[in-house]
């Protein structure tokens, strides 16, 4: 230690002399490149050839950095709900003559990283390659990843050089909410690569605030600032962004504490005290990410609304928040209170006596339930200890809970195929009601699994009617009122067991400044600066 201190002192003195000598000799100081190094939770680099994989983390770090969508999220504030704003399209509206024809007016003067122009031709080509296997740049993986957002697109048409029309199969007034998930690639770059996206991967070109620099497959992706970005307010304030996949949480924490990275995603609650003690900044914020049990409403005990309500009364949400070290808040619905569609849903108090009474009234006491849970997975938080606590709380009120622990991919399979083929009365499946379109569809009986993602086949005639009206209405105020009402109904009926909402924790070195954590799964990295100390 003494040696270290002496060495440091000598180094400091030498450093001062060196600095003085340099300042006298050099005409202007050369600023060192500022580098932001982020450890992601993903097990691999999100695919950078268009539609990223690795869930929303892929969109966050690769989608919205290299590329732009036509409609963007406004991620500039931590205090207000995230809404959409113009991206590569400046304006969009439905054709007054045809409710299935959407007009997108495109931004002028935007260039891709390879110098090609963004215009109607590139917009039409981009959407077409995601839906048509006749497009030479069609790939099954981009088709698959975009499918949830493109399945209502019938065809695309160029109106003029900066205006396109997108035809939908059915009337969908909230159609434009699909657009933030579709990323625009340079047609020239793909054609130059012979329409082979594996060749294109060596020099990808979007219009985003960052340009591709280098990649070491499975290990790191390096992007650099795009100084010519069309949105001058969002030109990155650091020079280089390094993205490193690091699925193991203890590894991420060690990498941050040892200075190998500047920022880590999703530290676990038990690591927060150590991170705070080491002077790291913990950033959290509310966002539309809830951790519920989706309930089977057509078979088993949860077919009875009273049993669903009993479960909601039986859960002590505050205790769960304590278990999570405060990085969650109680949840009472599919939306969070910060969202305009939240409304005034019934907020189930912790009342185990009422829960027991409801179970007895429903003739299900003890009430045996079989729940599918996962051992890990995207957005699943800390599924094993959390589910153990839920089980303890439910059993205290008269439930008898059996868990089937599945790996994430298996649980996805259950979710995709709907409840019919599986013996589950519910599944623990985290969700994010980021946009109203998906929320509405998930409550409507016509979208029940396996056709859609209404897991549990929730059916309510009033909700179906309201949902149909929402999708047909082009009046935002009317839509808001109806979506809010749907939300209030499904909460009152205990459509799910609502438990907690995540607070989206991330930890960063004190060198990282200027980050504004929006109430979203997605974040804007461009304002971040890296100080020397």
């Amino acid at each position: 230690m003494v040696f270290k201190a002496r060495a440091r002192r000598s180094a400091s003195i030498m450093g001062v002399f060196a600095a003085l000598a340099l300042s006298a000799a050099a005409p202007a100081p050369v600023r060192a490149e500022s580098v932001l190094r982020i450890a992601m939770t993903a097990g691999d680099i999100p695919d950078w050839r268009g539609q990223p994989d690795q869930g929303f983390e892929g969109n966050r770090f690769v989608g919205y950095t290299l590329y732009d969508p036509m409609v963007q999220w406004d991620l500039s504030s931590r205090d207000k709900e995230v809404t959409i704003r113009p991206g590569l399209a400046t304006k969009w509206y439905v054709d007054p003559e045809d409710s299935k024809r959407w007009i997108f007016e495109l931004r002028r003067g935007v260039k891709f990283h390879d110098g090609c122009d963004w215009n109607a031709d590139s917009a039409v080509w981009n959407l077409d390659r995601l839906i048509s296997d006749k497009n030479p740049a069609f790939t099954p993986y981009n088709f698959g990843r975009a499918r949830g957002r493109t399945n209502n697109i019938e065809k695309i048409e160029k109106i003029d050089d900066y205006k396109i029309a997108v035809y939908t199969k059915i009337v969908e007034s909230l159609f434009y909410y699909n657009m933030p998930y579709l990323f625009m690639l340079s047609k020239c770059a793909v054609e130059k690569a012979g329409n082979d996206l594996n060749v294109y991967a060596k020099s990808p070109a979007g219009t985003g605030p960052y340009k591709f620099s280098s990649v070491v497959p499975r290990q790191r992706l390096e992007l650099v600032k795009n100084p010519d970005y069309w949105d001058k307010a969002r030109i990155p304030k650091h020079d280089r962004l390094v993205l490193i996949p690091m699925p193991e949480v203890t590894t991420r924490v060690a990498a941050l504490l040892s200075g190998q990275v500047d920022w880590i995603e999703a530290p676990s609650p038990d690591t927060l005290p150590a991170l705070k003690a080491a002077g790291m900044t913990i950033v959290t914020n509310v966002y539309p990410h809830t951790w519920p049990y989706l309930l089977n409403t057509v078979r088993g005990p949860f077919k009875d609304m009273r049993v669903r309500q009993a479960a909601n009364y039986a859960v002590n949400r505050k205790e769960m928040v304590e278990l999570l070290g405060g990085i969650a808040v109680p949840s009472y619905g599919m939306f969070i209170p910060a969202q305009k569609f939240y409304g005034k849903p019934f907020e189930y108090p912790f009342d185990p006596k009422k829960a027991t009474a409801l179970l007895k009234e429903a003739g299900c006491f003890p009430c045996e339930i079989n729940i599918g849970i996962s051992s890990s997975g995207s957005g699943q938080m800390q599924p094993l200890p959390m589910n153990e606590l839920v089980k303890e709380q439910l059993e205290a009120a008269g439930f008898k809970v059996k868990f089937d622990v599945l790996d994430w991919n298996s649980l996805l399979d259950v979710y995709f195929k709907g409840q019919e083929k599986f013996p589950y009365d519910g599944i623990n499946f985290s969700s994010g009601a980021s946009d109203p379109l998906n929320f509405v569809k998930n409550q409507m009986s016509q979208y029940k699994g396996p056709v859609g993602t209404n897991w549990g086949s929730y059916t309510n005639a009033e909700v179906d009617e309201l949902g149909a009206k929402v999708l047909a209405s082009f009046d935002p105020a009317e839509q808001e009122a109806m979506i809010t009402k749907i939300h209030e109904i499904i909460v009152r009926e205990g459509r799910n067991l609502f438990i907690v909402s995540d607070l989206n924790p991330r930890a960063m070195s004190p060198r990282v400044k200027g980050f504004v954590q929006a109430q979203s799964w997605f974040q804007d990295l461009t304002p971040v600066t890296i100080s020397d100390k």
Partner: protein, 318 residues
């Protein structure tokens, strides 16, 4: 010898076939679907059907397997479902990364274990033996992922002398075992990987050498007036085949990569690759990785068998 080697190479074919067949079957028996990981959670069942067709998963499983096998026989292991990159390149790149730490761990573990195991056998029942045996038990018993985390906390977080994670400052492309700035990334993974084979081989060496030392011919050698070192040389030579076979197995395990060690250190090797392939049901990647690892394992065992033949004339005679 050459006939023996050829026979072993030919025997590798049914082994590889069996391994791939079992793997294919297991993946399909397990819940989940390779297509699920390619679609967003809100995609419809209709989309799943379309995707299955696009990837050829709509065909019966035996047909899929036969198609894969016919391509694999020509050296084409297909492309990863997730990344689209050729499986062969993915696996060989991961294998070369694993070999870096596996080879280092092997050299350290084998040398230390052989020397310490022999010393323990020679001092059987004495404090030296007990100390070595205790060390071996610790080596075998400590979960290596736990050891890895502890080493990271001590050397990377608290002391700040070694990196916590990764393979080189710029990834594996910049890694150079002869450049300290890069080589230091391998130190903690190598130590962690060394512990298990160290314990196992130490115990094997100890018992094999001790058993030989208790045999009559050793007494004979001593009676003939041979010194302790010469006697030990004879004992070690007789125990070598047994130790070599355990070493071969251990080297095979290490080359197969340790999912836990590689995940903790984010080391881009075969263990890390395989865990990703399993989690995402990336069937071509999983199949390709298992096939290449099985063949590598067979090859290592062949080399070990040939080495055994060379050091033990009894095997050659049989």
């Amino acid at each position: 010898m050459w006939y023996y080697a050829l026979r072993r190479v030919l025997l590798a074919v049914p082994i590889a076939l069996g391994v791939t067949m079992i793997c294919y079957g297991l993946v399909y028996l397990a819940p989940g679907d390779p297509i699920q990981a390619l679609l967003p959670p809100d995609a419809s069942q209709e989309d799943v059907v379309v995707m299955k067709k696009l990837y050829g998963f709509d065909k019966p499983v035996p047909v899929q397997y036969a198609l894969w096998l016919s391509r694999a026989a020509t050296g084409d292991l297909g492309r990863s479902l997730q990344t689209g990159r050729p499986v062969f390149g993915e696996v060989t790149s991961a294998l070369s990364n694993t070999i870096v730490i596996a080879a280092c761990a092997v050299v350290i573990a084998f040398t230390l274990a052989f020397v310490l195991g022999t010393i323990a056998a020679y001092h059987l029942g004495r404090p030296t033996d007990r100390a070595v045996t205790a060390a071996a038990v610790v080596g075998v018993s400590i979960p290596n992922y736990w050891l890895g985390i502890v080493l990271v906390i001590i050397f990377a977080v608290n002391l700040g002398v070694l990196p916590a994670t990764g393979m080189g400052s710029k990834g594996s492309t910049s890694f150079d075992l002869f450049d300290w700035e890069q080589a230091k990334y391998a130190i903690l993974p190598v130590i962690t990987m060394t512990m298990v084979p160290l314990g196992i081989i130490m115990r094997t060496t100890r018992s094999a050498v001790a058993e030989v030392l208790s045999q009559d011919f050793i007494e004979m050698l001593r009676a003939k007036g041979l010194g302790p070192l010469s006697v030990l040389r004879h004992a070690v030579r007789n125990a070598a085949p047994q130790v070599l076979s355990v070493m071969g197995l251990q080297f095979g395990y290490l080359v197969g990569g340790s999912i836990l060690v590689e995940t903790i250190f984010t080391w881009p090797g075969t263990g890390f690759l395989m865990s990703k392939a399993i989690m995402t049901r990336d069937l071509p990647l999983l199949q390709g990785t298992i096939l290449i690892l099985a063949l590598t394992f067979v090859f290592i065992n062949l080399v070990v068998d040939l080495a055994q033949t060379a050091v033990d004339p009894r095997i050659k005679r049989s």
